[in-house]
Structures are given as C-alpha cells and as structure tokens.
C-alpha cells in the first residue's frame, strides 16, 4: 500500500465514524458557539470595534473546540486497545499520524466554516477583506495547531489525566500559531495591505513545516510499545 493511500485511509476511517454518529462535530460546534455567546455578553460590541477584539474571540473559540477535537482524536483507538491493530497494520506509523492530522484539520475546518459566518452576523461585522487570503490564513494555522496537538494527544490519551494534560502541553507550544492567527486575522479584517501581515503568514507556514516534519520523525517513538 502506498504511503499516501494509508494516510487517506486513516483520515477516511475517522471521517466515516464521525459521519455515522455526527457526535463530535455537533458537540464541538455547540461548544464553540457558547464561547462566542459568552464573549458577546462579556464585551459590548456596539462600543468595541470588532476588528480589535473579534479575531481573539474567534481564535479562542477555534482553539478551545480544537483541543476537544484533538483530545478525542485517539479515543476510538484507545477503546478496546484498537491501537494494537493499527500498530500491526503494514503501514508506516507516520502515515497513521498524518491521517489523524488530516481528520482533525477537517473537523476544525468544518467548525470554522460554520462559526465565521455566525460571528459576522452576531457581532454585526461587515467583512470586506480578501476571502482567499483569509481562508489561507485559517488553513495554515489550523494545520499547525492540529500537527502539534495530534503528536501530543498520542501521548496524553494514554494517561489517566489525558484530557487535562493535552491543553497543558499544547497551549504553550502553540503560542506562535495562536499569535500569528490572531495577528493575521486582525490585519485581514481591517483590510490592511498584504505587506503588513506577510511575515505572520510566513511564520505560520514555517511552523507547519517544522512541526509536521518533526512529528513525522518523532511519531515512531511516541507509539512504540
């Protein structure tokens, strides 16, 4: 079996499980919506400009729901020791990792795709920025977050305090992504010229490359029995 086919199979398996139950995306979406509602109460957006606070609010919602998604990412494998089956399968372990990252990115993207329009309506914001660049910025930062999160989650799901431990490890490590995401989104929403935030997009891309490469190399050691 070719490497990329294995990646697709792992991602496809997770998506199929999700499509059959729709358990995860629905609960994540409600959670993310609640975060938006709480912020909507906490700040008076008729007074505060959405451009200054909105990107932070949005990314808090994305990142919090992302942690929940990543936390559950290995849940299926953990139950009844199904992970043994994956370890025995004749595929590269890094392919398993990349498949998991792909599935998580898809879940997070689904949440973001639903949440952004809702936020635009909820906070009465008129978006006039560049849509393609916004999607690119969202995608780059989502991939970076999922890449590091999936690596950590493969360790933390096998501990007793896993769901608490994951954010503890992931949030500090994901500071660059969180920062780049908020900065890029702010510039984009304000409709500023590309040069102003090009370096932030470059940072997100560099982060993605470095950590995907490191995780592919290190994942074998994480799963080793």
């Amino acid at each position: 079996m070719s490497y990329w086919r294995a990646v697709l199979l792992v991602a496809g398996k997770d998506l199929r499980i999700e499509l059959r139950s729709r358990e995860q995306v629905v609960s994540l979406l409600f959670f993310a919506l609640l975060v938006l509602v709480v912020f909507n109460f906490a700040f008076d957006f008729t007074v505060i400009d959405f451009v200054t606070l909105g990107p932070g609010v949005l990314w808090v919602a994305f990142i919090f729901s992302g942690v929940l998604a990543i936390n559950r990412s290995f849940q299926n494998e953990r139950e009844q020791e199904r992970i043994q089956g994956i370890l025995l399968a004749p595929i590269d372990r890094s392919a398993f990792y990349l498949g998991k990252v792909a599935a998580t990115v898809l879940f997070m993207t689904a949440i973001e795709a639903i949440l952004v329009p809702i936020a635009v309506v909820m906070f009465n914001f008129r978006f006039s920025g560049r849509i393609a660049l916004t999607i690119l910025a969202l995608a780059l930062n989502t991939v970076g977050f999922a890449a590091v999160g999936t690596l950590f989650s493969a360790m933390t799901t096998r501990t007793r305090r896993g769901d608490l431990l994951l954010p503890l490890l992931l949030f500090p490590a994901a500071v660059p992504v969180a920062l780049a995401a908020v900065k890029t989104t702010t510039h984009l929403l304000a409709g500023r010229p590309f040069e102003r935030y090009a370096s932030w997009i470059a940072l997100s891309a560099a982060y993605d490359l470095i950590f995907l490469a490191a995780a592919v190399l290190l994942f074998d050691y994480v799963l080793e029995e």
Binding site: V148, L151, F152, M155, T156, R158, T159, R160, R161, G162, L165, L168, L169, F171, P172, A173, V175, P176, L179, A180, K183, S199, W200, L203, A206, Y207, I210, F211, A214, A215, L218, Y221, V222, E224
Partner: protein, 245 residues
C-alpha cells in the same frame, strides 16, 4: 552472583567532582552575596532594587542551560537509549523550572518600581512564562506515564519539540512588541559599568556551579531511585517464589 542485594552502589557518581562542587558553592555563594550587597555600586536611576539583577540574570542563564541540556540529552536518549541520558534530561528540566521560577519572581519585583507595573505582555516576559509552562508540562507528562520506559521516551519527544518551539516562540513574540532592557552588549545594549559587569560575571559563574551541583545531586537521587525500584522488584519476585501465599 550479581543480584541487586550483593551489588554495592557507589553513590558518588563522579568521585572528587562532587565534593569539589560543594566546596566551590560554599565559597562562592557568600562571596557573591558580599559583592552584590557591599561591593557593586548602587545604580543611579533605579536605586537599590537594581541589585536584584544579580540574581535575576544568572538564574536565567542557569535556566537556559538546563533547557538546552534537556533537549540535547533527549535527542541522545532517543538515539542511544541509555538511561543516563534520560536521567540528565529529566534532572536538567526540573532544575530549569526552578531557576525560571526565580526569574519569573524576581522580574516583577524589579519591574514594579521601575516600570510601574508587575507584569506586561512583553516579549521576554511572555516567552519566559511560556517556556516555564512548557517545561512544567514536561514534568507533569513524565509523572503521568505508565512505566519508566514510556516516561523516558515521551519526555524525550517533548524535550525535542520544546526546543524546536523555543526560537519560534521567541521570534513571534519579538515581532509583537519588546521593551525589556537590553543591558548586555551581546544582546545589543550599551554594556555595564566595569564593576557591575564583573559582579554579574561572578554571580553567573556561581549560579552555573550551583546548577552543576544540583544536577549531580538530582542525577544521583535518580540512580538511587532506580536501585530502590530494582531491589523492590527483586524482593517481590523472591517473596512470590519462596512462599506462594
């Protein structure tokens, strides 16, 4: 027969080095305190609070040394799979967290009178706090592992990921904003008064010697823990074999 009960453990890892470090620390620490409080001049603008600098900066040096050593030994562990690399990585991370705690406590004490705030979202402050959080997470992860082998492997993975993340965190927060004083010439400052510079150098050496001593003691404690585990297992096995209760 080489069962654990007949092997005598030599607890002194490096022979004469440990007593030498004890002597060095015993001499250097009082001398340092003398220099900090009696010899170096009081800084003109900030006053006496500036003396905290001689604890703050050397602690940061020792902390960074710990983080670097942890990353290096983590990589060596994954490569060679020798317990001693893991011992050093774990010990350095623990000591780095201690020194960074000192950095994060002395910083605000200085900042309050000088900047007028305890804390600000500034680059060095933020990146140091993130670093502290990351290595505190490292220690928690290690405690949550199921067995020593898994603990060592996971620790090593996190030690490497953390080290890769450090420069990125630093860069990203630097683009954000920065107002931490750059005193030393190497970091783009104007440099210090010669007496102050020598004072800082002395304190830095002292803290690094202290770091080495703590590292040695912590590694020795680790070796003893391993030994104790082996003995406990051995006794449990023997007990189970002799009298099947």
């Amino acid at each position: 027969m080489t069962g654990p009960q007949t092997r005598r453990t030599d607890t002194h890892l490096l022979g004469w080095i440990e007593p030498a470090l004890w002597v060095a620390v015993a001499l250097l620490v009082p001398f340092c305190l003398h220099v900090i409080f009696r010899v170096v001049p009081t800084e003109g603008k900030m006053g006496v609070v500036q003396r905290i600098f001689y604890f703050h900066v050397p602690s940061a040096f020792a902390g960074f040394l710990g983080v670097g050593l942890c990353a290096l030994c983590s990589a060596l562990y994954l490569w060679k799979r020798q317990r001693r690399y893991d011992l050093v990585a774990h010990a350095s991370a623990e000591i780095a967290v201690v020194f960074f705690t000192i950095v994060l406590l002395t910083g605000p004490i200085w900042a309050r009178p000088v900047w007028g705030v305890w804390w600000t979202g500034e680059v060095r402050l933020t990146s140091t706090l993130v670093l502290w959080l990351m290595y505190a997470g490292y220690l928690i992860l290690r405690r949550s592992a199921e067995n020593p082998e898994q603990e060592a492997r996971w620790g090593a993975v996190l030690g490497i990921v953390g080290a890769l993340d450090l420069p990125i965190i630093y860069k990203s927060v630097e683009w954000w904003r920065g107002l931490h004083p750059k005193v030393l010439k190497v970091s783009g400052g104007q440099g210090l008064d010669p007496i102050m510079e020598r004072g800082l150098l002395l304190c830095s050496v002292t803290f690094i010697v202290l770091f080495a001593l703590l590292l040695l003691l912590r590694c020795r404690a680790g070796v003893l823990e391993d030994e104790l585990d082996a003995l406990t297992r051995h006794l449990a096995r023997r007990g189970a074999g002799a009298e099947p209760a």
